[in-house]
């Protein structure tokens, strides 16, 4: 079944190459468009990096290559580069008037397949198709060395294997059989038809990436290597090269995050868009739902292991919004350090971590607000959540210790305040609410809370099954609950949460009762309406937030 459009384009290659040009300078955009059209390429222009990402996500398969300027107002070009590399795996060419070696090197490090100096010449643009072709060739080579049938699983992501236990070989083979036919059609044409090689690209779906991250954490970030990861991941058809290139991107991403959290905002990084002025007003919203029959793998971690999420915002939002928080797994600390607050009145910070293992019944989903994909409600009906106890210490640290034997992670909540905390926060376990399976902890906090941080002390989190949402109740006098809004971090990325206020009248006081409900949630991102895409919406939203 040949798509006539595809084959026509294939024959004309490189003419018809679909290019996305991103440049904030309107003059350059016009010139580049004209130049690329003269090369007989199909050009789409945009002047914002965020816009470019939207376009790419929306029409994932409609572009062959991206050309972007390094200096963009809304996002660092290197960041865009990373995104495109991680999410879409398209070749990206960087452009800049600045030809300094360090910059060029940075571009290459971040995965740019070329770095053009402005003013860009026609002849340079005429050759960009090489990068597209080279990439396809690379992918074909990978395939000829792997189990052909299994590639189809990769090609189409792991959507089919969502709720299945991936270690069940029989299921894999049944998927395999279905895909057989598709692959064989593809097989003969690959080498001659670069434009059809799209199908061969390894898609780093949410699940696959999650496995990757699991493997990395299990090995230990310092000792990691593509071969080890590959072995651990145990994904048939995946090759060392795939893993190696993904690892490289991942490393870049992490190093960038670490730099940011060390406070090295060099101006390239856009300010946290969710910063607000309501620093004192907030309530925590969160909910965690327990997955159904989930078997969460455990990695024994040391007590030093921490996964720490960073929240850099206080944000007034409606009560009923919650956002699941992805939990990452780490054997060693994969810490996004809490960025130092720069001023006294700066944004409170909240770290969220989680990791639970529990089986749970259905997770019921409420409708998402389509306009704000982050808002997401989960009301688990599960009943088997073990009680967890909260411990507090004089440093206003409250830790949730999941006392169940199967759970080894500890969540500690630290309340810090810009002003003096007169009353230490105590979080006591509240009896489980059988109706909704929530367990709550009530700190009698009557002071203004600057920040809440939760740390998983035993660093055990199952990455691909966890979504955690901490729910915090407002004062009993209020009938409404407040929730921690948390954006999800994929894999072991730090987690961002937003603290929101449920009360504008009590702007200066923390709710009397701070109930922290911890529930487990699995595959929330799968359960969500947007499926795997949802993750990526978050992915960049919180990345923006850094």
């Amino acid at each position: 079944m040949e798509n006539p459009l595809l084959s026509a384009r294939a024959e004309a290659f490189p003419a018809g190459l679909r290019v996305l040009v991103v440049d904030d300078d309107p003059t350059w955009l016009k010139i580049l468009e004209k130049m690329l059209r003269k090369c007989s390429y199909e050009v789409t222009t945009c002047s914002l990096a965020t816009e470019a990402l939207d376009i790419l996500r929306e029409r994932r398969d409609r572009f062959d290559i991206v050309i972007s300027d390094v200096n963009m107002p809304d996002m660092d070009g290197f960041k865009l580069l990373e995104h495109v590399g991680l999410e879409m795996d398209l070749p990206v060419i960087m452009m800049s008037i600045d030809g300094e070696t360090s910059r060029v090197m940075k571009g290459v490090q971040h995965g740019a397949c070329d770095y053009l100096l402005k003013p860009v010449r026609m002849k340079e643009l005429r050759n960009i198709w090489q990068h597209v072709y080279r990439k396809k060739m690379h992918e074909v080579n990978i395939e000829t060395h792997s189990f052909g049938e299994d590639i189809n699983i990769l090609c189409n992501g792991f959507e089919d294997l969502e709720d299945r236990n991936l270690t069940d070989g029989t299921e894999l083979s049944s998927v395999r059989k279905r895909k057989d036919v598709d692959y064989k059609d593809l097989g003969d044409q690959e080498l001659n038809d670069p434009s059809k090689l799209k199908k061969a690209r390894v898609v780093w779906s949410v699940d696959l990436h999650q496995k990757f991250v699991n493997a990395v954490n299990q090995i230990g970030f310092d000792k990691v290597g593509p071969k080890k990861i590959l072995d651990l991941m145990n994904v048939p058809g995946l090759t060392r090269e795939n893993v190696a290139s993904h690892l490289q991107k991942y490393r870049l991403y992490l190093s960038r995050l670490q730099k940011q959290s060390e406070g090295n905002c060099s101006g390239d990084i856009s300010a946290d868009p969710i910063n607000t002025d309501n620093k004192g007003n907030f309530a925590l919203k969160s909910s965690i739902s327990i997955p159904k029959e989930s078997v969460l793998t455990r990695h024994v971690g040391t007590t030093e292991s921490l996964t720490q999420g960073i929240i850099t915002d206080v944000h007034v939002r409606e009560i009923k919004r919650t956002l699941p928080v992805g939990v990452s797994e780490s054997k060693k600390a994969l810490v996004g350090e809490i960025p130092s607050t720069q001023k006294a009145s700066s944004i409170p910070q909240l770290g969220v971590y989680l990791s639970f293992e529990k089986s749970a019944p259905n997770v019921e989903e409420k409708a998402c607000d389509p306009t704000t994909p982050k808002d997401f409600m989960q009301y688990p009906k599960q009943e088997n959540l073990d009680a967890f106890s909260c411990l507090t210490n004089s440093n206003h640290q409250a830790s949730f210790d999941l006392s169940s034997s199967s759970v080894t992670s500890v969540i500690s909540a630290t309340f810090t305040n810009e002003k003096d905390l007169n009353n230490p926060c105590e979080m006591n376990p509240a009896p489980a609410d059988p109706r909704n399976g929530h367990f709550s902890a009530t700190p009698p906090v009557a002071c203004m809370i600057g920040s809440v941080s939760f740390q998983v002390k035993h660093g055990i989190v199952n990455s691909h099954d966890i979504g955690t949402i901490l729910k915090v109740d407002g004062s009993p006098s209020k009938s409404t609950d407040s929730y921690i809004d948390c954006t999800h971090n994929q894999g072991c990325f730090p987690i961002t949460c937003e603290l929101s206020s449920n009360s504008e009248t009590e702007s200066d006081s923390w709710p009397d009762d701070l109930h922290l409900f911890a529930q487990e949630h699995s595959n929330w991102f799968k359960d969500s309406e947007t499926g795997g895409e949802y993750l990526y919406d978050h992915f960049d939203e919180y990345l923006f937030a850094w």
């Binding site: 300078d25 003059t27 016009k30 010139i31 004209k34 300027d69 200096n71 026609m122 101006g267």
Partner: protein, 152 residues
């Protein structure tokens, strides 16, 4: 005769623009892009440049007027944008002065920056005037000729 005299005038003006360093190679590139599909491409691009760069100059001016401490990083970023833009049409003198400004910015030399900025503005205005004259003459001459390099 009138026609060829105008042609000659045009050619001389253009040659001067290049010889005196107002324009560089990039301008030729723009002319080569001009074709039947976009017969006024060069003029359109130049117009776009002056519109956008005026905005940038205003921003820089505002930034320079801000109270101390002067945010040199921001100035650098703004001037970078102007330089980037200038390179698109081959505005060589403007581009060079932008570079000088940025170097002074690096050294946090406010006095120097202020002086340099005045030069940038001046070069910008001069080029604008010259190119306006050039396009006006070009329209008078008639259908656009294909780009010829000076010295051909």
């Amino acid at each position: 005769m009138e026609c060829s005299s105008l042609h000659r005038q045009l050619a001389i003006i253009k040659k001067n623009l290049f010889d005196q360093g107002f324009l560089d190679e990039q301008f030729y590139q723009l002319e080569e892009l001009q074709d039947d599909a976009s017969p006024n491409f060069v003029e359109e691009v130049v117009t776009l440049f002056f519109r956008d760069s005026s905005r940038l100059l205003t921003n820089i001016e505002q930034a320079l007027r801000e109270k101390h401490p002067q945010d040199f990083h921001r100035l650098d970023v703004l001037m970078y944008q102007l330089k980037d833009s200038a390179s698109s049409i081959g505005a060589a003198k403007v581009k060079n002065e932008c570079t000088v400004f940025r170097e002074l910015c690096d050294k946090e030399n406010l006095e120097g920056c202020l002086r340099s900025f005045q030069k940038v503005k001046k070069e910008h205005a001069i080029l604008r005037q010259k190119l306006e004259n050039y396009f006006q003459l070009q329209r008078q001459v008639g259908p656009v000729e294909k780009a010829t390099r000076s010295g051909n």
